[in-house]
Assembly symmetry: C2
Homo-oligomer: 504 residues x 2
Amino acid sequence: MSEKTAVSPTRQEDFPEWYQQVIRAADLAENSEVRGCMVIKPWGYALWERMQAVLDGMFKATGHRNAYFPLFIPLSYLEKEAAHVEGFAKECAVVTHHRLEAKDGKLVPSGQLSEPLIVRPTSETIIGAAYARWVKSWRDLPILLNQWANVVRWEMRPRLFLRTAEFLWQEGHTAHETSEEAVTETMKMLRVYETFARDYLAIPVITGEKSESERFPGAVQTYCIEAMVQDRKAIQAGTSHFLGQNFSKASGIQFQSRSGAVEHAWTTSWGVSTRLIGTLIMAHGDDDGLILPPRVAPAHVVIIPITPKEDTRAAVLEAADNLAAQLREISYHGVPVQVEIDSRDLGGGVKNWEWIKKGIPIRIEIGPRDLAQGTVALSRRDRPHKEKAFLPNGDVLSGVTGILDEIQAELLARATAFRDENLKVIESKEDFYKFFTPANSDKPEIHGGFALAHWNGSAAVEEQIKNDLKVTIRCIPFTDSPEAGTCIFTGEPSKQRVVWAKSY
Amino acid sequence: MSEKTAVSPTRQEDFPEWYQQVIRAADLAENSEVRGCMVIKPWGYALWERMQAVLDGMFKATGHRNAYFPLFIPLSYLEKEAAHVEGFAKECAVVTHHRLEAKDGKLVPSGQLSEPLIVRPTSETIIGAAYARWVKSWRDLPILLNQWANVVRWEMRPRLFLRTAEFLWQEGHTAHETSEEAVTETMKMLRVYETFARDYLAIPVITGEKSESERFPGAVQTYCIEAMVQDRKAIQAGTSHFLGQNFSKASGIQFQSRSGAVEHAWTTSWGVSTRLIGTLIMAHGDDDGLILPPRVAPAHVVIIPITPKEDTRAAVLEAADNLAAQLREISYHGVPVQVEIDSRDLGGGVKNWEWIKKGIPIRIEIGPRDLAQGTVALSRRDRPHKEKAFLPNGDVLSGVTGILDEIQAELLARATAFRDENLKVIESKEDFYKFFTPANSDKPEIHGGFALAHWNGSAAVEEQIKNDLKVTIRCIPFTDSPEAGTCIFTGEPSKQRVVWAKSY
């Protein structure tokens, strides 16, 4: 089994297909018969629940509360912000009728609506309408709300988690008295996302601002966190938008200011979605399947009773239960250690492989011989699958949180090293094209990675690069010491190097 | 202020309007411009989050896991179960297009779908399709899943929380090897709902089976919990359905049984929704607003600093912070005591009334004089609003969970007494009509309450009563000793008395 991998093809052989197979092997999700809509299976949904719990805590700790707004947006609302509707018009699910009627023995849509309703692709306009009702005076500001919801964007090339017609997300929407306050909020939430990605997902992200052509439709500025995954492509894993007064003017969010004048509020929005699950898979998975960072893993430890003989089965299962009970009393960063017991009457190898594929951080085998010795065999998902440590029970209990922290740190270290190796300063157009041109045309995914290169700020240049190489500016990264230079494409002045990459 | 109530009209004056005004006074939710779709505001959503947390724990403790299934159901799926589509056809939001296109300067739906998609009114058919893919052998059963989701049923007469076009709910869907197992599951989850209603919402519900005419479309048997609210009407607060093999036949959920034969699975579904919030408001609210049972209250205690003078303001606020910090370290049934501090620079009366209307269980005032004495003034939401206990800080800390438990018990006792007073055995048709005919035609809501009366099992009788009195059978209640008798409408034999009421 040493040569065989649990997932086929391997990452080297076919990264996009490897990704689909990991999702299948870990039993995270699957396509439904409804085009682009996925079924999120229990292990995948439990991962999302962990992410939600952590993010929700971070949002509340920064003064936000949750609320819930309608699924449907009247077409006329969407149209209020010109750039916004332009951005979403091509991918809207449109509700036109409110019942079904039998006609010639077939059920057909009936009860046509006087105004079509759009299934929310995002909620700036419907939430803006509520804020316009609620805000009268500067005393009503700021409004700091978030909602956990499903949204729909009709995707022509869906891919599980990364790009689905329906997806789950959170969208924060805030309204402020001043531009400065709104900008501060935008940046604060970007930092929340960056912290979450690093400390929980073990993914080092690059933070920065999007170029104008990559902005959220209707935003004044869009900030993002960009992750590099193992095929060296970028994934935009979260965004935070400073919306200026665009949406408050469109929705009429006005207030009487401290000076008595009537002013428009300044708004922001920010969101992350189930796309984070796709990012996590691509950032950490290996050829044996998913690898879960312990701080978002639905379960930390699986205990695998090895019960080859009927006469010792009961005793082994009891020892497994006892160990699980003791582990569950241990707190790991504020949550109890989560333990699964796989007591199915199957061979240890079969059970082990299932949990390897599911990415659980720690596997503990207990067999009849261990009972007498008071030991167990412990394996870590970040180490070769055959590596086992034979430990006394007591050491497992005293060491479990330390091992989880080590795994967490190891995953971040690996991802950071990989990112740093594949992030290159590129100083000429020729090198840039070479960097992004696959050496082997059979493997278009093999290319340089992230390029840091000077750019003159022109959208025409971006367009050209996108057409030539399918490469875009991922962000204009934040830097304390921007280094001016010369655009490698035009020779014109450049304020700083920007991050270019292929992306999902 | 002793004569004035915070909410107008009072329950006596106009119960339906009182309900709307409590929602407004407590700032729980409001109508949006999208017909029948509500905005759930932070205080209302926080209440839903508490309910979710408790229920989710109960579902997981009974072996269920969460998953997520598509929002959209192909029309052909809905049609697979004849009674089911018949039941929902008249209230479906139908998606017919997947983009918008400019035409004569206007945006219009474009990209017509080859098959219309229905926004899920419930998910039996779309989840059934997934189960059909997953189940091959008896070893794959049972499947015990739940999803938290939004659903849409086009309501012609929407009412906040009780009946909205879009609402939030959970829907459990399980598949089993045998009929017995599925029936056991159906009953188990009904008991979970009953327990939740009693021990958390402080609402005593009647459990029983629906008559055939009130069954969920496609179910073999529907069980329910029925609450009585303060206008003596019934609210169906939760349902659990035994679906037999109806949906597994429609969806093709087949498995190889232990004997090798191919069989259809036995399925169940069960759900509660944001309707529980409406039930809670109507069950416990008074003429001063909402009253929250402590075990689902988003916050248990509000500390109201009284700061009439600038020179003592800082010291009072500090004392409030200290007390809050100490309270938050106390555990109330497994969750930390949740404390709000209302430090707005407003008068104590204004602040008190706001929290009375919001229904928070305990209000604590701290003023400059209290500082010197080390006391506070404590008021309970279940007592007259002027009643205050002057307590040393230490007594507050040692007594807070006891007081919360007392409030919880008091609310249940009140609701139970009210229900019992208004639940009458009715032995003749004449008495039955009198029971449900309002003495005062200006107040159609004033009627007897719940009637326990013998019935011959005929749907025609139900239909007649519904037409005459707008009264329906709420359930055939579970009883250990069914008492046979004579139908009061027909003189025919009756197996047991059933519960009749007007309902929401």
